[in-house]
Symmetry: C2
Subunit: 352 residues, 2 copies
DNA sequence: TTGTACGCGTTATCAC
DNA sequence: GTGATAACGCGTACAA
């Protein structure tokens, strides 16, 4: 950058330089310390000076320099978050809520995306830390040893969102994925279903998906039931995938009478495909999803699904991380409630 | 923060402090300047020193402090972007692409959201600038005088995404919304349609929506056609809204034979509602949308729509802003192509 | 090619 | 309550 080596160089105005708190102080006739206090701890400054300084500040349109502030205070006022993907229903809603909550408490959100790739996630975490985020919001709770170690050595707090478990080193904020699915199983069993199929989201690098799958398995086991291998499919999150996997699971013999889907897009695909191939829902087949996006209630046959208050996940995560940052009382995680929304894709098991 | 006023204080190791480039330099037996150069301009350092320094760096696991770097170099390596909303199809895809492109060139994306609120957008812009972003990616090109003035005084570059116009102060990267809609009108007219309805996205604080609406109007005018007031509806971006507004436009007499929707969700709602109320598509009514999300092709009746390469918008915007930052050749905007994807919601005008 | 030394714009400590 | 002033950790003219 351009340097100003001659301190006594005569600037047109005779003054010294343009930018900064220093100039505000000069014009207001106070010290730089006072200007700083007016911004960061207004009550420690007498009202007279405070208003005087404030006037100069917005007369000059001065904006404090975040980098200098960060360097000096060793805090950036930024929180990092790493999501597998940004554009998917529940995450998108959570991100919105997170941003609002952070913004309300004067923090900035730095958003990164891992694409469900464990290595990339570590890279992103490093980048965020390098940028000086004060805290980190992560999704899920299982990670590689290297990643775990990185987090351990970190001097900043972090939390796990979208999962809930009390026994993790860092607090969790999210629904109990397994329990939500177990409740869904209870409901379906109460309708008389005994033969189940599942279209799960790929469980690789995704402990929420794994928890949902295991939740289904364990709940079924409690009834002495199990999903036969051919009726168990895994796929990505797309409608097309849901269609394909529905056909697959329906090939199992005997055919399942209920299909449980691991996310909204898979469920939408399954429901659309059932209609397309002439399988009557819910008369011949019940289908349920996970996550309640607008589409779930607007499809020709509205879909029974698990509703998680994602906005609440986002907001709680934001508030919690700030509490940790600001050293609030013993911070503990939060289990975000989920509920089953019964619509028209579920019904009693077919007779024959 | 904790200060270290006694420079000669004997640390256990006899050395001075923990953090930093300084320590790397000491251990590697070089000057701080050399360490800095190894990072920022490797070729100006002899290979021997370079490797030696590199070894020390990753042996210590040292990570340069972004704030200090920013303060000293007056650049942060961060680009800000303000989107109306993050979770909607085309924006979500563009954001993903933007992040990848920026990341590839070692920049970070700071994302903000304006909720289609002009005041909030200015607030967010200020925040981003305060954070020291090197450049700004904005959506659309029309803004308040105050906002305009703010941008003028800014010493960092910015661009307008998702619109295209050659005559703006800052470059544009996006589709020609009006032209895309005009092409759609041409297509529908060629099918024989003469009575049109439109379900537009609210045009308040949204010049893309306005351009699409005007594009339709102007194109129709060239055929001597116009949309009657009762067949012209405006709404938010939701499926429910699309359903409601379809019913509204169909009440116009004589009833339109083709409905043009301003975005994907509105189109999905319109198509679903038509099916729900027993209006045959495309036999009795043609419906088209804008933006090609997965749902558009997966609905029971796949929807004819305008496809814009949003990923390309994101990527070009990212590359362009970096070019501006790094002072590349006379930077100019880019018109991103759009195309009409004909599916099954459009057909010849009904006879009667 | 390499080293020295200063300054980037704040915050925070200390004395008043 | 207010003012001096020393860091914060790095980049970079300039000298060597």
């Amino acid at each position: 950058m351009t340097r100003q080596n001659n301190q006594t160089a005569a600037t047109p105005q005779g003054a010294r330089k343009s930018t900064g708190l220093r100039q505000v102080a000069a014009i207001a006739g106070v010290s730089t310390a006072t200007v700083s206090r007016v911004l960061n701890n207004p009550h420690s400054v007498s009202e007279g000076l405070r208003t005087r300084v404030m006037m100069v500040i917005d007369q000059l349109g001065w904006v404090p320099n975040a980098a200098a502030r960060a360097l000096s205070s060793n805090r950036t006022g930024a929180v990092g978050a790493i999501f597998p993907t940004l554009g998917v229903g529940d995450f998108a809603r959570a991100i919105d809520a997170m941003q609002d909550a952070l913004s309300a408490r004067n923090y900035l959100l730095l958003l990164a995306r891992s694409r469900y790739d464990a290595d990339l996630e570590l890279v992103q975490a490093r980048k965020l830390v390098e940028r000086g985020v004060d805290g980190l919001i992560l999704v899920g709770r299982t990670r590689s040893a290297e990643y775990e170690q990185f987090l351990d050595r970190l001097s900043i707090p972090y939390l796990n969102a979208f999962v809930y478990d009390e026994a993790t080193p860092a607090p969790c904020v999210g629904p109990d994925n397994a329990r939500a699915m177990a409740e869904m199983v209870d409901y379906l069993v109460s309708l008389g279903h005994r033969r189940f199929g599942m279209i799960a989201q790929t469980t690789r690098n995704n402990d929420r998906a794994a928890a949902r799958r295991d939740g289904v398995r364990d709940a079924l086991a409690r009834y002495g039931l199990a999903i036969q291998p051919q009726a168990m499919a895994e796929g990505e999150w797309s409608i097309a995938e849901g269609r394909k996997l529905l056909r697959l699971t329906l090939e199992a013999t005997p055919r399942p009478t209920a299909i449980i889907c691991g996310n909204a897009l898979l469920a939408i695909g399954a429901v659309l495909e059932a209609a397309a191939i002439g399988v009557a829902v819910p008369e011949d087949l019940s289908i349920v999803g996970y996550d309640d996006t607008e589409m779930m209630s607007e499809l020709p046959t509205p879909v029974t699904t698990v509703r998680v208050a994602s906005e609440q996940v986002g907001q709680c995560a934001a508030d919690l991380i700030i509490d940790m940052l600001e050293g609030k009382s013993p911070v503990t995680g939060a289990r975000i409630p989920s509920e089953i929304v019964v619509r028209q894709t579920t019904g009693p098991v077919p007779h024959k």
